[in-house]
């Protein structure tokens, strides 16, 4: 065990002890459960001083046990002992993660399970702490609703959320994304044949990529009306330049030797494009597609702040904020987050399939 791990373990044990002592002095409200929880975590944390049973899964089990205990008694009036117990759970859980990451004799499958489980565990912890703090400390729901409340709201309003999703994600963001990326790709291939245009357009495109393009939203709303077409137009402009710049850069990324090789075969322009330059450009193109998937959602949602029909993620967010229905806003944010991460994840998956040969992806298929 490293010194760092020992420190976490001792701190966790100390927090468990503190929880136990507090629970005993305050037996009336705490009950026997908290005392036992305190003893468990203190024991698990402090056992590292003696060196018996050092397995990480023991730490994990104790941490999860403490979490279940805390969840079972969660209400607006938590006994004082529950807070040191929460800290003890956190430290012992961290210790479990530290130890399982440091383990050396792991099989490849086990280590990939661990590297998947660790962020999931971390995410679950964040939600758990969020729930604990908002409910336990009675944070006004207007400020920050607990995750359970958001989940309930989400389940109750699936039809509204679905309509908003269709309006903003499918109609506005997706159509704009396809038009923007598609036209940029075609134009990139066209200007690739004219070096003069390349040298002129590339710096201008790079410059425009850095500009706050969402600002054109009000203009697009004036030109194309309140419905999804104006949002799609914003998305087209936002996604166009990253795609243009990346595709042009990707088409230039071939090595001189590879170009010479194809030249010795007397290959035509299209053969060169299809067999060498587009495959070489693929990692660049996917990079742009991934950046753009996020930009498209941002563009579509922000453009709705400037006027929409009465449906859409951005519309709902801005009106429900006005009515202080913060749980509904969070439900919409969950929809946006799911749409964003799913599309990003799908693109990453596709990228791994297509550019499996790229040095950054190689190890995984070997």
């Amino acid at each position: 065990m490293t010194g760092f791990q020992r420190t976490i373990a001792s701190l966790g044990g100390a927090a468990g002890l503190a929880a136990m002592v507090l629970a005993i002095t305050d037996l009336g409200t705490s009950g026997i459960g908290l005392i036992l929880g305190g003893i468990l975590l203190a024991g698990v944390g402090l056992r590292h001083r003696t060196g018996v049973m050092p397995q990480a899964r023991l730490d994990l089990a104790a941490s999860l046990g403490g979490m279940v205990l805390l969840l079972s008694m969660l209400d607006g009036d938590m006994p004082a002992a529950s807070w040191p117990l929460l800290i003890a759970c956190w430290l012992v859980g961290w210790l479990a993660v530290e130890k399982s990451l440091a383990a050396r004799d792991m099989s490849p499958t086990m280590s990939s399970i661990v590297s998947l489980a660790v962020p999931v565990f971390f995410g679950a912890w964040i939600i758990f702490v969020w729930e604990m703090l908002t409910v336990g400390l009675q944070v006004p729901t207007v400020l920050l609703p607990p995750p359970s409340m958001i989940a309930v709201r989400f389940a109750e309003s699936t039809s509204i959320l679905w309509a908003d999703f269709q309006q903003t994600v499918i109609k506005a963001a997706l159509s704009g994304y396809i038009i923007g990326c598609g036209s940029a790709f075609i134009i990139a291939i066209l200007i690739d044949r004219v070096p003069f245009l390349q040298r002129g357009l590339l710096p201008v495109g790079n410059f425009i990529s850095a500009l706050p393009i969402v600002g054109i939203a009000p203009i697009m709303v004036m030109w194309f009306g309140f419905d999804w077409q104006s949002k799609a137009a914003v998305v087209v402009v936002m996604t166009f330049f990253p795609m243009l710049v990346n595709t042009v850069a990707g088409l230039q990324a071939t090595q001189a030797m590879e170009r010479d090789l194809l030249r010795t075969y007397a290959s035509s322009y299209f053969q060169l494009l299809l067999k060498l330059r587009l495959p070489t450009a693929a990692p660049f193109i996917f990079n742009a597609l991934k950046i753009n998937s996020t930009l498209a959602l941002i563009g579509a949602i922000v453009a709705e702040f400037f006027g929409t029909p009465i449906v859409g993620l951005g519309f709902r967010i801005s009106t429900e904020v006005g009515r202080m229905n913060v749980d509904m806003v969070w439900a919409e944010i969950v929809v946006a987050a799911l749409a964003g991460s799913l599309s990003y994840g799908l693109l990453s998956l596709l990228e791994k399939q297509v550019t499996f040969w790229h040095p950054s992806n190689r190890r995984k298929i070997q």
Binding site: Q255, M257, E258, D260, L261, L262, R263, T264, Y265, A266, S267, Q271, K275, L276, P279, T355, F356, W357, H358, P359, R362, Q366
Partner: protein, 264 residues
């Protein structure tokens, strides 16, 4: 053709010159190069860096354009020869496309030439066997060692059955043991196929071991200083490199290189 020899000329160059315009004045990469390479020759070009040996090979391949003199490849201009796919070219690095398997890399020139799938598969299998890579066709280049990658790139140059093979320091980046092995294999291949091979190298033993004609070049301006015909027997085990005749020829090459070398 007014050639007196019985064998036909594959490459003929007269007064060939190539001048690059650099920032600090013109650079004579090649100057007054006269050269005749006959069918079935194994010719090595040797010289220090900057002597224009690679440039000469690139001129033959129509990857550079000469600024003076004339050159023919198979009796055509280099450009016509390239369009007719008259030669296979092997670069200093394998230059295999990472997204294609070894098979599909070797099949690339055949695809571009528009061969049928069956013909392609047949030729790929044949050339894979020729370079001793059978069984590796489904692998990706980055899953093979450097020596195997370079063998695959030779297979790719052989796949479309051109009679002329241009090789630009193909084994320069490999270690000595792999290099010896590939040299041996290359000689076998030459004997088996009877191709004309132009081979650029900066290693004297390699040049003497492989070729029947050694072109010694010198830099600034890049020019041919000596052409040595080797009379080593066709059968060349690796230990021929310790024989007296081998060392004599190597000595002559070394002298040629030293004379051509200038200390400006």
């Amino acid at each position: 053709m007014t050639s007196k020899t019985t064998r036909s000329k594959v490459i003929e160059a007269e007064k060939l010159g190539l001048t690059f315009d650099a920032n600090d004045g013109p650079v004579h990469a090649l100057k007054d190069v006269d050269l005749a390479i006959e069918k079935g020759d194994f010719v090595s070009f040797i010289g220090p860096s900057g002597c224009g040996k690679t440039t000469l090979l690139r001129v033959i391949a129509d990857l550079e354009h000469p600024t003076a003199g004339s050159i023919t490849v198979n009796g055509m201009t280099p450009e016509q020869a390239r369009l007719e796919r008259a030669y296979g070219y092997v670069f200093q690095a394998p230059a295999l496309l990472a997204w294609r398997t070894i098979e599909r890399n070797i099949g690339l020139p055949l695809e571009i030439m528009g061969l049928s799938a069956a013909e392609k598969a047949d030729r790929v299998a044949r050339t894979l066997e020729l370079v001793g890579l059978d069984g590796f066709g489904r692998k990706f280049p980055w899953q093979l060692s450097g020596g195997m990658q370079q063998r695959a790139s030779i297979a790719r140059a052989l796949a479309f059955d051109a009679d002329l093979l241009l090789m630009d320091e193909p084994f320069g980046a490999l270690d000595e043991i792999v290099r010896d092995h590939l040299n041996e294999q290359l000689l076998q291949l030459w004997k088996k196929t009877g191709k004309t091979i132009c081979f650029v190298t900066h290693s004297i033993p390699e040049a003497v071991y492989l070729s029947n004609k050694i072109v010694v070049m010198s830099p600034r301006p890049g020019r041919v200083t000596d052409i040595i015909e080797s009379d080593l027997p066709a059968e060349r085990p690796l230990d021929i490199r310790e024989s007296k005749r081998f060392l004599e020829i190597a000595q002559r090459v070394r002298t040629g290189l030293r004379e051509g070398h200038s200390y400006e």
